[in-house]
Symmetry: C2
Subunit: 153 residues, 2 copies
């Protein structure tokens, strides 16, 4: 009963992690971004057990990250990314950048290229200042109390 209470923490890192910070959920989303939509397709791609996949997909639908739809003219169900789910992509790309740097000794297995970019550019996650635009690391950051923590009364 202790872990779930973390969802109440006023922290925008902790709260998402309670939703998708487990073995499978981000992997499910990774395949969702690569076009997988059907229950059985997730199952065979991941090697996850059916009951677990059922549970995780249900949770993602609950949180409006995936949407479940019947496919017209078919018995299939489809799980598609919602806009909220679509916005998880930068998280996966940040993980990938780290993985390419530290866990890909032979170089990146997959290159995520910018479609129609003349310079053959690649997508990369970058931490930057929204005011001056300069790149940032952990050392350049000072946490401050935000509006979500103003105490009422």
């Amino acid at each position: 009963m202790r872990y779930e209470d973390l969802a109440d923490e006023p922290c925008s890192i902790t709260r998402p992690l309670v939703v998708f910070g487990d073995r499978w959920t981000l992997l499910i989303l990774k395949y969702a971004f690569s076009g997988v939509r059907r229950f059985s397709a997730f199952q065979s791609a991941l090697g996850i057990s059916r009951s677990r996949l059922q549970d995780r997909l249900g949770r993602l639908v609950e949180h409006d990250i995936l949407a479940k739809q019947k496919v017209a003219g078919s018995a299939h169900e489809e799980y598609r990314l919602t806009p909220k789910g679509h916005d998880v992509y930068p998280i996966l790309m940040a993980i990938r950048d780290w993985g390419d740097t530290y866990m890909a000794p032979d170089g990146p297995p997959v290159v995520y290229r910018h479609r129609d970019c003349e310079g053959d550019g690649e997508a990369h996650s970058r931490l930057e200042c929204d005011a001056c635009g300069s790149p940032m690391t952990a050392r350049d950051v000072t946490p401050e109390l935000g509006p979500g923590l103003r105490l009422p009364g």
Copy 2:
């Protein structure tokens, strides 16, 4: 025995997730970035059981994400971020951006301000093209076979 095999997948999203894609590891790192270094401090901050914390810290040390050091002139142990661990920060910031957008109805509980920035800027994760610099979403990306997947022979 199935899940651990995912570490062999040639995917820079999957491989990091096998290391820190569980309930606690990214939360441990979140506190590490906020200055927590001692075993007991992690334990009381997180409410994780001692044996689990022991296991997770050990794994992070194994992967050279944290480094364990004896503090001179004290009986304490310290777990400090290595450069490799330091580079996990953009992942946490990407999660935070999503959390601020979708799980912080009263606004961000914490603001991550750019130290010494004249414009009072904040740190934000941005997915962009490394060639043309324009912002990107999942729809702008085309995955391609990378050098890490060139088959030998």
